[in-house]
């Protein structure tokens, strides 16, 4: 005990008298700092370019202050209003004052769009009224109704009350085909307006079918690759990976050339007499096109984890099963197949999650009924500029993926997953 002494308190001391624990911490501190410094650039990059934008976008799904920011006076008045009684003169006064300011600031367009989302057909009502708001005099409510009798419609005021709430479940409600009313209740939109739930279901369905198709097509290929000698299987693996080396767009457009009604496949069908010239199959710009192209593109994501798991399965398991009296099928089903489950899980999860958010391929080959939820998200981001709804749809998508992941963890166990 020359270097180290235990005091009465039981704390171990290093040679220089400092407690051993503290000494150890000092020693580890430097290596911790270095480790952090090594990952810091990537961490910052991911934080700035990935995490922060995602959080901000998701934030927009529940937070939209277009109205509150640009129409502060009426927002306050609407907040105090119960949403059922007739609009009061003070609400109208606040509104007119706000309209004047919003027109001057050129923000009236944005406000009009925001309210229009809650009650369509009100856009021009706002822009028109704002133009003459500066000349309006008390009583303002009557002045407004004079200008446009729509101001007498209580629904307009209800729509404004909803829009004036910065924190609102309205977008999430819209994302599941519900409307959020001024009195705080929810209500399903009428029949022909319900699109998103259907789209979500369709997206899940497509993802499920694509995952199944990838599994059915990929499993035998992975099995073959894993049983071949290394040299041959490496060569064949290049063929599996080939799609990764061509651009996604090229691959998708190649499918258009293959599948269209005057395309290669249909020409062959006609030539061999499977179908007649005037009854060519419609294989593209519909669900079929989406399924075919997505299965092809996502197939490697199934084959790779399966292959790596299968490579690791010692042939002695199947041999043991056979020596114990199992037929080829029993040996496969009872012994080999269970050993591939980590690969199946990883592949299926990968393919499913990728296809749930797939965008380009369905957009190009999906036509009317082959588009998926991500195409609508993109639409809201780029065309209708309803970012809040896009965020709500995206948020739901993210949540469903997380739930899936959680279920997978519960059922198979995430540490069982083998990605390669």
């Amino acid at each position: 005990m020359a270097d180290m002494t235990a005091l009465d308190s039981g704390v171990m001391m290093a040679a220089d008298g400092t407690p051993l624990k503290k000494k150890l911490k000092q020693a580890l501190f430097l290596s911790r700092v270095r480790a952090f410094a090594l990952v810091a650039p990537l961490l910052l990059f991911i934080l700035a370019s990935f995490i922060v934008p995602i959080v901000m976008l998701l934030w927009q799904g529940v937070h939209n202050d277009t109205y509150t920011k640009n129409m502060p006076l009426s927002a306050k008045a609407l907040y105090e209003w119960d949403g059922q009684s007739d609009p009061t003169e003070s609400m109208a006064e606040a509104l007119v004052a706000d309209l004047v300011v919003a027109r001057d600031n050129k923000t009236i367009g944005r406000v009009a769009t925001r309210v229009n989302r809650e009650y369509s057909g009100t856009r021009s009502l706002f822009t028109k009224s704002a133009r003459s708001a500066a000349k309006m005099e008390a009583p303002f409510l009557e002045a407004l109704i004079d200008k446009d009798k729509d101001w007498a419609d209580i629904e307009v005021w209800k729509a404004m009350k909803i829009a004036s709430k910065s924190y609102t479940p309205a977008f999430y409600a819209a994302a599941v085909d519900m409307t959020y009313n001024a009195d705080g209740s929810f209500e399903r939109v009428e029949e022909q307006g319900r699109i998103y739930v259907k789209l979500f279901l369709r997206t899940f369905m497509v993802s499920l079918v694509v995952t199944l198709a990838c599994f059915v097509l990929g499993f035998p290929v992975a099995y073959l690759l894993s049983t071949l000698p290394m040299r041959t299987s490496n060569l064949l693996m290049i063929l599996v990976l080939l799609p990764f080396w061509t651009s996604l767009l090229v691959r998708t457009t190649a499918w258009i050339a293959m599948l269209q009604s005057q395309g290669i496949l249909n020409n062959i069908f006609v030539a061999v007499g499977i179908t007649s010239d005037d009854a060519r199959f419609s294989l593209i710009y519909n669900m079929t096109g989406t399924l075919i192209a997505m299965t092809h593109i996502l197939l490697p994501f199934m084959i790779l984890p399966l292959y790596s798991v299968m490579r690791g399965i010692s042939p002695s398991y199947v041999r043991a099963a056979k020596s114990l009296g199992a037929t080829n099928w029993t040996a496969f089903w009872r012994v080999y197949f269970p050993a591939t489950i980590p690969g199946i899980g990883a592949g299926a999860l990968l393919v499913f999650i990728l296809s749930i958010g797939y965008y380009i391929t369905p957009a190009l080959v999906g036509g009317q009924n082959g588009t998926l939820i991500s195409n609508f998200i993109a639409d809201h981001m780029q065309k209708t500029l309803n970012w809040s709804l896009a965020a709500a749809l995206g948020g739901l998508l993210l949540a469903s993926v997380l739930i899936l992941y959680w279920i997978y963890d519960k059922v198979v166990g995430i540490d069982n997953m083998k990605l390669g």
């Binding site: 002695s316 398991y317 043991a320 099963a321 056979k322 020596s323 199992a326 029993t330 050993a339």
Partner: protein, 363 residues
């Protein structure tokens, strides 16, 4: 002992095997195994032991020749119909099944009822002293425990023939020795025929009824352990089994079962003729280190020896000497009381009996 393919329980009849069509991994194998016998295939790595076992189990096909089980050729019978139990080197216990499920597997695929299955599984587990571990997964067992389970699984469906491919290879020395006795006892109790593969010679010597020494796809010698050690047929076996002193010389005369062998230093000695060539040809003498006497009187096989090195090993002393110009001649001197002590550099005389010195091929 079976001498022909038809009255043996297991027979390899002129079997050849090639994987690539260029080289023969097994060259002309003839091996007849009796019912209830414990036969060990012993040989260096790559000598074709596993290949032979795999052909017997049905996972490889013989390129040429017949393999017979109980007099019937089995070349065309698939592995699962051969009814041969097998213990693999890495045990190959199914990781997703419990120990009991692993053992029930062979019974289940044979369509046995649940109650019978459970009774047999329990009996097999008790036999290897693993009765309490039925509900564990293989990953929760130690190497030795997994080994026992693998053994029980290969025996639970009562096969008449059990193959074991280096089943103890992954265990530490002490456990290995313990398991050797256990396997031996189980074999004696059940009377099954065992074909056992190992490259550990002491394991082979302890357990086997007969040992087939493999080298380069051929059986070099097939004999009971004592014969193999005491009476090796050729230089490879003499070298491979136990420790061995070799002296190279030339055959000078052959007189019945005795040969005179001359050495490069001009001296000569007499040896037992086993596998030597004709007069004038080279031969290799094999003498076990413990069969050499130190400080002997003048005699037919007495020669001057200089002590080069002494290693103290407790129960005996290893003494490296120069004998007939060979610097690696080892003599084991028992550490008995009153024995005279040697000193390095000292010259003494060593002697051996004619029958302890075997003239073999000079390979």
């Amino acid at each position: 002992m079976a001498t022909s393919a038809t009255d043996a329980f297991v027979a390899f009849d002129r079997v050849q095997k090639s994987y690539d069509g260029e080289t023969l991994v097994v060259k002309d194998l003839n091996l007849f195994i009796d019912k209830g016998e414990f036969l060990t295939m012993l040989g260096p790595s790559g000598s074709g032991k596993t290949t032979c076992l795999m052909m017997l189990a049905g996972f490889e096909t013989a390129t040429h020749g017949d393999i017979l089980l109980d007099g019937r050729p089995i070349n065309n019978i698939p592995p699962h119909k051969r009814g041969i139990g097998m213990v693999f080197q890495n045990y190959a216990l199914f990781p997703h099944m419990t120990v009991a499920e692993n053992l029930a597997f062979p019974l289940e695929v044979r369509g046995m009822g649940k109650a019978d299955r459970e009774a047999k599984v329990n009996r097999a587990l008790d036999m290897v002293q693993m009765g309490e571990f039925g509900s564990r997964r293989p990953a929760q067992l130690s190497g030795g425990q997994q080994q026992r389970v693998a053994l029980a699984r290969a025996l639970v469906f009562e096969p008449e023939l059990v193959l074991m491919d280096e089943p103890l290879g992954a265990l530490d020395k002490q456990l290995r020795e313990h398991m050797q006795y256990e396997i031996k006892h189980i074999h004696e109790r059940l009377g099954v025929t065992v074909v056992y593969v190992t490259h550990d010679q002491s394991e082979a010597l302890t357990m086997s009824d007969r040992i087939a020494v493999f080298e380069d796809g051929r059986i070099q010698q097939l004999a009971p352990p004592a014969d193999l050690y005491e009476r090796p047929d050729n230089a490879f076996v003499a070298q491979f089994i136990g420790e061995n002193n070799k002296l190279t010389g030339t055959v000078e005369a052959i007189d019945g079962s005795t040969v005179s062998v001359g050495f490069a230093d001009g001296e000569s000695c007499k040896a037992l003729s086993v596998n030597n060539g004709p007069v004038g040809g080279p031969t290799l003498l094999s003498i076990r280190p413990e069969r050499v006497q130190i400080g002997a009187e003048e005699g037919p096989n007495t020669v001057e020896a200089q002590v080069l090195e002494l290693i103290y090993l407790g129960d005996h002393i290893r003494c490296r000497m120069r004998v007939h110009g060979n610097d690696d001649f080892i003599v084991k001197v028992p550490n008995s009381a009153g024995h005279e002590h040697l000193r390095v550099g000292e010259t003494t005389r060593v002697a051996w009996k004619i029958e302890d010195c075997r003239a073999l091929d000079a390979a």
